[in-house]
Symmetry: C2
Subunit: 159 residues, 2 copies
């Protein structure tokens, strides 16, 4: 039973980190070519909510929904945590079917002061004249793992 | 001619960032599933040099050499730079053919005080008893692009 408690505790540490950290990295892939961008996420339960304007990463995730989200927190060289989430991209399209989820995404993201920035900056450099079309989306989490280095306790894999 | 000068200057900014930033994120993919890990790199010319112990990412990069390396520097919410490198993984095996490149990788990485850490921590949690087998490798850079947000000048795409 101690092993089960320990496993839950370790997953809890991953989830705590996802709640705490807003700036993360989103990895998508097309034809087995990975591509990484920094992005702001809001985490709740089994999903990460994000915002972007249409461009390369949305194109890629529409053609292949498999993604990885990585978050890390480096307090010092020997005290850091890194979390990797594997999951599926799902666009929260502006339709009645997604109204509730889009509302939830907006509400959670609004708590992040700069949640819109990474998406809007990419849009601004694509075109100075067009109005950006925002895309809200979520990542349905399938697997969470984490690695922590600690000066006190040594490295620990969190899974 | 101004456009050419401007283009070179923008690439130079990406290269400066790669020289300055040591902690980056490495993305690899298998069966179109991306996976991201934090890693220390040393940059020189058209290559990034890294170190790891054998595990998931080496397995994946051996089966698919297409990788993405992402580096960012966040000075404030409206002053940050993010660089994305697309390239090919190449293992610097412990053979005479790679002796020179391995020496170069070791020499460049030694200038980074904690270059060995991300690789060794992953190895430690895999096995507390086995001696880790180090793998030096490089990423042959095929494409560099970058995005910068600046409070003064607005967002700029660097390519």
């Amino acid at each position: 039973m101690r092993e089960c408690e320990s496993a839950r505790c370790q997953i809890a540490e991953c989830r705590d980190a996802l709640r705490r950290l807003a700036l993360e990295r989103l990895g998508c892939a097309r034809d087995n070519q990975p591509y990484i961008v920094p992005i702001y996420f809001a985490y709740e339960s089994d999903r990460l909510y994000g915002f972007a304007t249409f461009g390369k990463k949305i194109d890629w995730m529409r053609s292949n929904s498999r993604v990885c989200v990585q978050a890390d927190e480096v307090l010092s060289n020997d005290n850091w945590i890194s979390i990797a989430v594997l999951g599926r991209y799902e666009e929260l399209s502006d339709t009645p079917a997604y109204a509730s989820e889009r509302g939830k995404a907006q509400s959670l993201l609004k708590k992040r002061s700069v949640w819109w920035q990474t998406g809007c900056v990419a849009s601004n450099v694509r075109s100075q004249s067009e109005t950006p079309s925002p895309a809200f989306y979520c990542v349905r989490i399938e697997e969470i793992s984490g690695l922590r280095a600690s000066a006190q306790g040594g490295p620990v894999r969190v899974r």
